[in-house]
Symmetry: C2
Subunit: 219 residues, 2 copies
């Protein structure tokens, strides 16, 4: 089984896929698409992903897009360790937790949105960063309330990490990219500590990617 | 089995759940939460949905949130007719099509985003509507390209509608709420015609809801 991942250090959606691949012990090769320089709009990449976004997963010659669809796919083709609970109600809860970041918070912070804010409203970089931190904080606050209401340690649904934890850890990594303070979110902080204690999460963190280290050296 | 749906005529995510319930022949009672008047922030509703969004599905006393998680849940507890294909690769494609609207286009147009644009950038209603139609068009264009690349008639994955068609039809309904012209998207138009020829889709359309008709009379 050969797997390639078109990703980028800063892509939160690529982070999610990287964690899932590592948890399932599936080796992969990552191909960088520099979304900060707009390489996702290159004609060659448009052939790979017609939505002009990362990640794209290539598995046995077939292409997969949308991170949550990729996580579900990996869980179906390689069921162990499971990334979704077995019982329907718990599966729904895991998916809804995942979607708080995937469908509500993270989409408001991606490069094409930041670019369009500048174009449509003439927003400056400070206003755009403040827009992003506003929506990241909304997601963090929702997670904190949900984890307070229905606590399950050490992970969101119990003893092992699920797609919920992958997306919550992604939301935390997003906050870290924006250098946000997480003190107001103690439940989230505890969950994040459990996640990032695992090599699969730690190794997938944006700051651990070669592309980030290159970018830091250039600064 | 008793089912309640907290929804609203204009909520695209509520549309998705309404279609799925109708396709599966599951009777439900809909409770209106007027998201245009901000009723999703009422303390009583915050108890129902801590994310302050619609829809929420209540099934046998348990609450479910996030439309895509609800569609998957309904497909698990009531498998016929299936809303997801059987084969893993096809399931991934159905989910990724669904997520183009759920995770990329629709999140940029919801009430809290329109409100924050006005607050953070002082955007006027015309600029906000133009922001929304920009992102709705991005979603429509992605769908048109995907359907051109991998045609499967009459529905996105073949003979019967899946979660992909539900979310694509929702994207079309979103464009209709904004009175957008769909002529540039012929593949999408053909798919939409097949969907809305079915009573489950037609009856779930925003303009067919009692709340819309009330709002129109008041104008």
């Amino acid at each position: 089984m050969t797997i390639q991942l078109y990703g980028f250090w800063r892509s939160n959606a690529a982070f999610r896929v990287r964690v899932a691949l590592a948890l399932k012990n599936l080796p992969f090769e990552e191909i960088d698409v520099d979304i900060l320089s707009g390489r996702q709009f290159d004609p060659a990449y448009a052939d790979v992903n017609t939505e002009h976004v990362v990640p794209t997963l290539v598995h046995d010659g077939h292409r997969f897009f949308q991170s949550l669809a990729i996580l579900e796919y990996l869980d179906e083709i390689q069921p162990e360790p499971r990334l979704l609970p077995i019982e329907a109600r718990e599966r729904a809860y895991a998916r809804s937790l995942a979607l708080v970041s995937v469908a509500d918070s993270h989409p408001l912070t991606v490069p094409r949105v930041r670019k369009h804010l500048a174009q449509a409203f003439g927003s400056d970089p400070v206003a755009i960063a403040s827009w992003c931190t506003h929506w990241i904080r909304e997601g963090l606050s929702t997670y904190e309330r949900l984890l307070t209401r229905q606590a399950a340690a050490p992970f969101a649904l119990g003893a092992t990490p699920t797609i919920a934890d992958i997306c919550i850890a992604g939301q935390i990594a997003l906050a870290e990219v924006y250098q946000m303070d997480l003190e107001a979110f103690p439940k989230l902080g505890a969950l994040g500590a459990h996640c990032f204690a695992l090599p699969a999460f730690a190794g997938a963190h944006p700051f651990k990617q070669p592309g980030y280290q290159l970018a830091s050296e250039r600064r």
